[in-house]
Point group: C2
Chain length 755, copies 2
């Protein structure tokens, strides 16, 4: 854990140059608009340690699988989100010396992410090796309203008269650091440079995505000289030579267009690139910026969370919401939420169960239904691949197993205990359909695709169980639950519970849907599903009154995390894998994950017994763990425990808690901290289609407010230690349950409930 | 399965050239002497598909580990036995055309491995592309009495007058096909060529073994011309140009010396190489050959098995005994038995549990005690590394976990479910000490090293178990038993039984050994070991009267191999790994392996119940499986079943049963077929230090005879369907039990017992 940024409600500020933590700051200062984005790399040349990253959503390379011992069914490749040609590239030479913060003497360095406006500002004074002092101010954004546009304004002032040579380039000779095989991923197609316009068109190897990255540099005051242009393979540049007087500021704007053949015909990417640049040039930087800030304002209107009395938590939750809204905007059902968003290249493939299990609730509550629906459509469009994936593992008759990791529907992961056995992901994908419908009321989605997915997943569960004569039950052998610190166990309670629920929900959904609109399922299949749901083994321990993580969990040594020496932690770095596996220690919520998903099924004493048993055995070595525990701790009235858990997630990246923010931010776990705050302390849940709220403030917080959308209502919920205020910002009345009591708030009205 | 070689009691004959199966024949025609050896590659140039292999025992390279997802505790490398510079290399150019069977027209091709004499003969007629017809006869051996010497005689006759250019070389520019990283493993040190003598000295990368490979070519009739010599990096050659008349035979002998710095100082390898060649030249080919044949004769005197009435079985068992005696001669405690011996490079590292569990019984019964003792010493010398290996996995206080795969004591394997969890290997290594002592009576070995190993392994078991409050037992969680088709299971009966036995044997051995000579073990440790042995959980099913392979085995679907479709087989090629794991199907003997190891503990009805339960669920997809089942089937009187099982192992390589003999022969499984015959049909076992025999012939066999050594006795046991004859070939009387009845046979006497 590091103390890199000061607490500030709307800003992330880096004060002073810090080459050592450059990669961490590059991650924190990432910008994205759901379609492309990149790390906070400097615009001008930087020869110090850096991880360059400009990522285009959905543009990947199938990196051949690396494995020691092959198992049948392993995928051939791991989809790698590619570092794409960079639109930002700038070179500034002053009296023949390159402006490069790694070699200059740097003073007054300040960098600031403005989360409210979605901008990254930077200013510094650098003394070059030739003694020339230059002052730079830049402001960058990745346009939210224009999904292909990035822009920055760059001001440079020399303290003495100087000759300045400025080169604006598209740099396409880029690599991925995290790749299984050592070669570039891009083939050149065409480079163009004319006047202030530079374009590089390139193509990904194997997948053959064609991408045009274009740049346009304009000076606020037209320079005296013409651009000199230059191209080579995967590179295009315009160069300007200027003579400036001491104190004179050169101001320039660079616009960047990022166009891919995912959205336009491959032959048209260059044209489209020029159109984007033409339109942006016409509009001008300040208007583009204003549009961008306006779009972020509208985002915050429906998704902001305000915490008073705890500036660290406030900054953390806003940083997380900012990250989520930068990563996924929900206007394209072929896109999803990568584990690092646009902040890094690690974990390549895009979609994990994180999307449904952790991210969906955020988008449901803060965006129009269409946004969440596109997450569901993503899986529906990949159903064919999920069926093929199941076939590779021996399943038949349309059973589907969604991949552990994917970008195009094909499995990318290659650890048998995860790829083949962490099948609970199928349950999360089924539950997301229910979750979407109960939140939005859009039950039409069942016939639009939901039932196809539910039926295919139910077929999988019904084939995946086997009959145990000994137990006279259906058993689920050889699985890995959410707790990845147990592998290949039998009867993981969470997995079997999700299977049982899927079967029952599918049966109920089929029963209540017009027979003409439903997939063909035989009566024998329906009967089998009902029987499996009825007689599936869900291990419990009657004596302790707890559900069992798996049927032999109680064979383990009954020690707790308190029995560990601090030198043992984190287990995943200190212990060998077998030792972790046979220990009782739990990586992340497992039984408790199930009790959260189905929280209304269990009474508080049951929750309490399970929480008291499992939480002390949980090491929370997954960033997805503390959030679920925070919600459950709130339910149990343990607000200080809940706060401890919430803080563990909220500042994970800002404080580089796991020492790995240099690789990028933990995008999907950002949703966890929103869950902890809004579903936890805010008490948001949907029961029988009804919105429930129950704000409770943890110790130290003076106030908590959050914005949500629910059906036609836009609500501003605000709690202090004395009262709860709910403002209905829509015109139609909103009915909801507050701390269990029903109330209706008229349009544009506000209610106050004293505590 | 292929039908490549005709049944023949003492020979393996290839009749006709077969380029397609060249690699298979190269494996079958391998020769070795325990110190070096190689595949049946042609001496002269061969440009067709081939796997060149000249292997020097103990000379390896640490090939960096390749793995997709790293786990703490994984080794950094996999020790790769290296393909070494080749001493055999010969080039024959006739009228400027290379003799190369891949490009010539080949007739009358015949190759014959003479297993009795340990020689490989070859003859063929080849018509070269220039129309010249040449006839070749060669005879090759790898000297058993001279561990550094190989030799061949090569006769070539041209049908017409011709100019013949002969080059005898040492070819050091060799690679391994099966390597994780693509670069050569040898660095050049020095090359020398003078007259008929060529030497290449080279050094392995990283491990820095220095190796000198030398060759000496002599002609039966001195040729008219001098040798022209040539060297380049890793290559040295002598070339001779001769003019021959039609029908004239050129006869030459090439001697090869293979010297390594494992046995002489690195600076002296070249000198030693020349000494070996000098001495061999002085002795001459025929005397060297006679010495070699004599050594093989002595081998057969103590290890031969004769089966009459079943020529396929006869050939198979001899081929296996030949392979075992070619691989390990037991005069160096740093050597062991590689999975492919000197017949291929696959599975690189040398030592698996196969050595103790499968190979040791063969060497015990057919060689002097020193041979087996060196297998024990090998582990004793690596005890420090085994303790370090256990420390990497969190064990303390001198606990040892021997590696799954090793060449120098360090673990090489990198699959967590095997490397960290297939810990029963520790049991086999402990049991080997007991097995050696009960066979040889050499109980002094306990203080010479046995107890050190037993104590360290007992420490491991005592730490590896954990206490289950639920069962009120010590449990062994997260293991992989001999059946590798279950991973990470709890309470594998075989593993826990081996642990229990080790603890008890160590306690007993400590108690009966003079206190001054034993390792320091505290009373608390002794008490813990006794308690663990007493209260370890050994799962059983009372209803079925069987031991349970693991505590949840009966949760599995109770189907058998008979329920499988033939398209499902072999499972390891047809099913995904998770499907195999959750199925009831068993790769190789597991519970039954334990019942074999401790066969005198269990009555026949118990064995029968377990055999009847497990064998029908066993797919025998390990070459180590059928042998154990064969022995148990004999015990149960199911001689036809036993024969079926025995034949599955005996001709595994000769018939290329698994379609993988091209990679090399299954050396360690060869011991399994000897076990099936001698321990199975021969009924050999040791009970309370007493030799027991109980020959029983399966249907179709007219006679079975085998030679064994036991203590001071050399016995020739021979059974027909009518009588059993035992001849004591030693001078001292031998006492033994025959079919349960005790008898003593005077020296040089023979007894006949009618059936």
């Amino acid at each position: 854990m590091k103390n890199l940024v000061a607490h500030d409600p709307w800003h992330v500020v880096q004060d002073g140059f810090d080459a050592e933590n450059n990669r961490v700051f590059e991650s924190l200062f990432s910008l994205g608009n759901g379609h492309f984005g990149g790390r906070g790399n400097h615009e001008e040349t930087y020869s110090g340690d850096s991880l360059p990253g400009n990522y285009l959503a959905g543009i990947y390379y199938p990196d051949p699988t690396r494995v020691g011992w092959w198992k049948n069914g392993y995928p051939d490749y791991f989809a790698k989100v590619l570092n794409a040609p960079d639109w930002k590239t700038l070179s500034i030479r002053v009296n023949d010396v390159e402006l490069d913060l790694a070699t200059a003497e740097v003073a007054e360095y300040r960098r600031e992410l403005n989360m409210r406006e979605g901008t990254l500002e930077r200013s510094f004074t650098a003394t070059l090796s030739n003694g020339v002092e230059v002052h730079v101010e830049s402001l960058r954004f990745v346009s939210l309203p224009n999904p292909e546009l990035g822009a920055f304004r760059y001001r440079i002032t020399c303290a003495t008269d100087a000759s300045v040579v400025i080169t604006s380039a598209i740099q396409g000779d880029v690599v991925n650091e995290d790749s299984n095989h050592e070669f570039g991923f891009w083939d050149p197609v065409r480079e163009a440079a004319q006047d202030n316009r530079t374009v590089v068109v390139s193509k990904t190897k194997k997948t053959e995505f064609v991408v045009a990255i274009g740049g346009s540099l304009t000076f606020a005051a037209e320079p005296e000289v013409e651009a000199t242009t230059f191209t080579r393979s995967l590179y295009a540049a315009s160069t300007y030579s200027l003579n400036v007087s001491a104190g004179q500021t050169i101001e320039m704007v660079k616009l960047g267009a990022n166009v891919t053949s995912r959205t336009v015909d491959p032959s048209l990417v260059e044209d489209r690139c020029n159109q984007v640049l033409d339109a942006a040039e016409t509009k001008g930087f300040l208007e583009l910026l204003a549009d961008h800030i306006g779009a972020w304002e509208r985002n915050w209107e429906t998704s902001d969370v305000q915490i008073t009395g705890d500036p660290g938590a406030q900054q953390g939750i806003r940083f997380n919401i900012f990250g989520l809204n930068s990563t996924f905007t929900g206007d394209d059902p072929d896109l999803n939420i990568g584990p690092k968003g646009f902040t890094g290249e690690k974990y390549g493939g895009v979609t994990y169960w994180d999307t449904e299990a952790f991210c969906l609730p955020f988008y449901l509550a803060t965006s129009a239904p269409e946004v969440s629906k596109n997450l569901l459509r993503y899986r529906h469009r990949q159903l064919g691949k999920a069926i093929e994936n199941a076939e590779k593992l021996g399943f038949t008759d349309g059973a589907a197993l969604y991949p552990m990791v994917t970008i195009n529907g094909e499995e990318c992961h290659n650890e048998w205990e995860i790829t083949f056995e962490e099948i609970h992901r199928n349950g999360a994908i089924a539950f997301a359909i229910f979750n979407y419908i109960r939140y939005t009321g859009d039950s039409r989605y069942l016939v639009e695709g939901g039932l196809d997915v539910l039926v295919a997943i139910s077929r999988f569960w019904a084939q995946r169980v086997s009959w145990s004569h000994k137990r006279a039950c259906w058993v689920m052998l050889g699985v890995t639950g959410p707790n990845e610190y147990e592998n290949n166990v039998n009867n993981n309670w969470y997995t079997s519970l999700m299977a049982q629920w899927t079967l029952r929900y599918t049966l109920a959904s089929l029963a209540e849907t017009d027979a003409d609109s439903v997939p063909d399922v035989s009566p024998e299949e329906l009967a089998r599903w009902a029987d499996v749901a009825e007689r599936i083994y869900l291990p419990e321990d009657a004596e302790r009154g707890i559900f069992l993580q798996q049927s032999e969990y109680l064979d383990k040594e009954m020690i707790t995390v308190a029995d560990l020496d601090s030198s043992d932690r984190p287990l995943n770095q200190k212990w060998s894998w077998d030792r972790i596996l046979r220990s009782p220690f739990i990586k992340q919520a497992d039984v408790l994950q199930g009790m959260w998903v189905f929280e209304d099924r269990f009474d508080l004493p049951t929750l309490q017994r399970n929480f008291d048993f499992y939480e002390p055995r949980t090491v929370h070595e997954s960033s997805l763990s503390p959030s679920i525990h925070a919600v459950l701790a709130v339910r149990l009235g343990r607000l200080d425990k809940a706060l401890e858990m919430m803080l563990r997630t909220a500042r994970l990246d800002l404080d580089d808690y796991n020492n790995d923010t240099e690789d990028g931010c933990h995008t999907t776990s950002m949703a966890g901290s929103w869950i902890a705050v809004v579903l936890g302390f805010g008490g948001l849940k949907i029961v029988d289609g009804q919105l429930h709220l129950n704000p409770q403030l943890p110790p130290g917080w003076d106030g908590l407010a959050f914005q949500i959308l629910h059906r036609s209502a836009r609500l501003n919920v605000s709690a202090t230690t004395e009262e709860i205020t709910i403002e209905n910002q829509s015109v139609t009345p909103a009915t909801l349950f507050l701390a269990g009591g029903q109330l209706t708030i008229a349009g544009q009205e506000m209610v106050n409930v004293p505590l």
